[in-house]
């Protein structure tokens, strides 16, 4: 199960995730991202502080979101990964294509 807490911080939409971003949890995130991007949101921060598990299904959704916001000058940034989660991002090569920061605040400002 994944819980997604949404907040607006300045121009950015911040999604704080809690739980498992696996095959089940990624469906909820995908639906929410598609909806917000369709509404015109371009700056997205996905905070992983509360995430204890991610699989390729979760990565697929993040990649989809990042690709969708990029053409209009938007960006999807990551924050707050614990070590085991960070390693999955590292091995996937996603840290080369998605900006990652220690905190939500840095992710909002770090461009």
């Amino acid at each position: 199960m994944i819980r997604i807490d949404e907040s607006r911080q300045g121009a950015a939409l911040v999604l704080r995730l809690t739980g498992r971003l696996d095959g089940g949890g990624s469906g909820a995130l995908e639906a929410l991202l598609l909806e917000r991007i369709a509404q015109g949101v371009g700056e997205i921060v996905v905070d992983f502080t509360g995430v204890d598990y991610i699989s390729s299904a979760g990565l697929r959704v993040l990649l989809m979101g990042a690709k969708r916001v990029k053409p209009s000058g938007g960006r999807l940034a990551l924050s707050g990964m614990v070590e085991s989660i960070r390693e999955v991002f590292e091995v996937s090569g996603f840290l080369k294509i998605l900006p990652a920061f220690a905190t939500v605040e840095e992710a909002r400002e770090g461009r």
Binding site: L63, K67, G93
Partner: protein
Amino acid sequence: MEERLEQARYVLLNDLEEIPQLAERVEAFGVRHAVSSKVIFNLNLALDEILTNVISYGYPDHLPHHISVTLMWRPEGMTAEVEDDGLPFNPLADAAPPQVDVSLEERSVGGLGIHFVKTFMDEVSYCREGERNRLRLWKRLEGSGREAAHDPN
């Protein structure tokens, strides 16, 4: 004093919702044997990627099937063996590794799950036995000093 289980077998249905439940059991099994949370995480990730493939693509008949997952603990490493009666699926023969050095626009996630399995496990072996796939994952346990290929038996 609690007896330390060396082996545990779980039987799952071909339903993706079984995967997080298996993950809890793998974690409990690992904790019981003082396996690090990192190894448990990596083993669960590999099992998730394999089982997601089997469940999503292995059963075109859309009927209920059983998948067996056997965990074995030894001081030098943990083994997880997955047996299913789905379509032949050899993750070792499957697909080129994902391109991890391309731009965001060119990037896809194809092959990422199997890439995780190969990267996070120390040994992966596969065989097709009759109508069954049998996949064995092995993860070395820190401090065991074991480097060579292991004999599972």
